[in-house]
């Protein structure tokens, strides 16, 4: 069998495994719309790179964007959903962007559980992740946090939007040296200096990290965000609490995680609890690139 056929067979087998997991857990396969209202998309994805989006006008003169992100696209499809009804959907579809003046697409598989109750939703997410890890025989290291931890510090320190963004950028680069220089210029951050000085090293086993946070701040509300999640998290070295974890998407509002395989150069699976802003309710979900799954197969 030639390599192309082998690849097709492998991809098809994987897809069958994923669909079986989805089916068993009650997820319905949906086809997200290819085009999304540009203005609405901007509201959800203000922090993405708009220059990479592919836009066009429909006959009514409305600006549409070829879906660069599936979560937002699925949200658009389900905007009329009754917020009191939980709904589980999965998808296998492409996202598109422009790079070097070329249209590039990559196929993603994802799960979304809309209006998922707190904790039950996170539990479901972790169960799915475990099923995928086992089903696809993956070896993963997972870093996790609560999106409210960093937002909470920014809020307590009275950071404005620009300062909040700078704070997140420095954390996303794990740039503790610049972070130390920067927050010295913000007088309101003073009560949080011991914590801020250690932000990028607050990672490891959850209990140990939380103990460190207790030593560094009196703000119990930050720890209160994490404690309900602790019983859900597998107590293994592969699950690392990283309080400087930042997502490229600002829609996360609770538990969030990134998972890496040993052969990856970037996070393989990303997800968590996010705000469904059409309905002022929340959902949990995650997605990964099917192409990335193929990369490293020959290593």
């Amino acid at each position: 069998m030639n390599r192309w056929l082998e690849t097709q067979k492998r991809q098809s087998d994987r897809l069958m495994i994923l669909l079986a997991i989805a089916n068993k857990s009650g997820y319905t396969l949906v086809e997200p719309p290819h085009f999304i209202d540009y203005d609405r998309f901007r509201v959800h994805s203000a922090d993405l790179n708009p220059s990479a989006w592919i836009k066009l006008n429909n006959p009514e003169g409305k600006v549409l964007v070829l879906r660069p992100d599936l979560t937002t696209s699925v949200m658009e499809k389900l905007q009329d959903l009754d917020p009191s009804t939980p709904l589980k959907v999965c998808y296998y579809a492409s996202v598109f962007h422009q790079a070097n003046q070329r249209l590039e697409g990559s196929k993603e598989f994802g799960f979304e559980y809309f209006h998922a109750p707190n904790i039950e939703g996170e539990q479901e997410l972790l169960g799915l992740l475990h099923a995928i890890e086992t089903g696809l025989q993956l070896s993963l290291v997972v870093e996790w946090s609560h999106a409210g931890f960093v937002k909470g510090i920014a809020h307590a320190c009275g950071m404005n939007e620009a300062e909040s963004l700078r704070f997140k950028q420095l954390l996303a680069a794990k740039d503790q040296e610049r972070l130390n220089d920067w927050f010295e210029t913000l007088p309101n951050t003073k009560p949080y200096h011991p914590l801020l000085h250690s932000m990028t090293s607050l990672q490891g086993r959850p209990q140990h990290v939380i103990e460190r946070v207790r030593e560094l701040t009196d703000d119990a509300s930050l720890i209160d965000l994490l404690t309900p999640l602790l019983p859900l998290i597998p107590q293994t070295p592969e699950w690392v609490l990283d309080l400087a974890l930042i997502s490229e998407h600002d829609y996360y509002e609770g538990f969030m995680f990134k998972a890496y395989r040993p052969q990856d150069a970037a996070a393989f699976i990303k997800g968590g609890r996010y705000l469904v802003s059409y309905q002022a309710s929340s959902a949990v979900g995650f997605a990964f690139e099917m192409n990335q799954l193929e990369e490293g197969t020959y290593e």
Binding site: V141, E143, Q169, A172, A173, K174, D175, E177, R178, Q203, V240, Y260, R261, P262, Q263, D264, A265, A266, A267
Partner: protein
């Protein structure tokens, strides 16, 4: 035995300084043909690559870590961790021109540079209209021959600017060598990287 950490070093003076900082008295193992080498303890594999390619090696995860000028990271990527600034490779990114203050035309300031991203970001933050003239080298020549009003470039001693009758108008950023990490490799090799950093800090604190 654990797989060795892979560190990409920039060819040239900064690469030599980096290797000395990491390996103390060990002899530099690279030449024109020898582009990868293990350290004596076989705990680190070094890759000897062009400075701008250090980023590529780290971003793609071929190297776990890399050392490069901060200016290059700032210009080319946001997709690596910036772990530690190192005590060498210091320089400044400046705006320089033939006069002390920039003279703008109605079409905006013409800016010649090898750093279009940093330049654009700076002038945009000042709401200043500019025309970018990206160049690959000999940037100092541009104002002298009327190609640009000012240049944005890296200055170490200022001797090249002086030789071309240019003066510094504004400093945009300081730069020095920085240790960067691939995000996935950082997660998988976190303990090894922290141990290495601790050993280096202890060794250099004694000097």
């Amino acid at each position: 035995m654990n797989k060795p950490l892979t560190i990409a070093l920039p060819k040239g003076r900064m690469g030599i300084q980096s290797f000395t900082w990491l390996e103390a008295d060990a002899a530099l193992p690279f030449d024109d043909r020898q582009l990868r080498a293990l350290n004596a303890a076989s705990t680190i594999e070094y890759l000897w690559v062009k400075p701008v390619d250090v980023l590529k090696y780290v971003e793609e995860g071929v190297a776990d870590l890399g050392i490069v000028g901060e200016d290059i990271v700032e210009e080319h990527t946001n997709d690596v961790y910036r772990l530690k600034r190192l005590p060498f490779g210091h320089c400044r990114m400046v705006i320089a021109g033939q006069t002390q203050s920039p003279c703008s035309t109605k079409d905006g300031l013409r800016v010649a540079t090898k750093y279009p991203v940093i330049s654009e970001r700076y002038f945009k933050s000042r709401h200043q209209k500019i025309t970018l003239i990206p160049l690959q080298g000999s940037v100092e020549l541009a104002p002298l021959v009327g190609l640009a009003d000012v240049i944005v470039d890296l200055v170490e001693t200022g001797a090249t600017l002086k030789a071309n009758q240019l003066v510094v108008q504004q400093e945009l950023m300081t730069s020095q060598a920085i240790l960067i990490a691939n995000k996935a490799k950082y997660r998988w090799s976190y303990d090894t990287i922290q141990t290495l950093l601790k050993e280096l800090e202890e060794r250099h604190a004694l000097v």
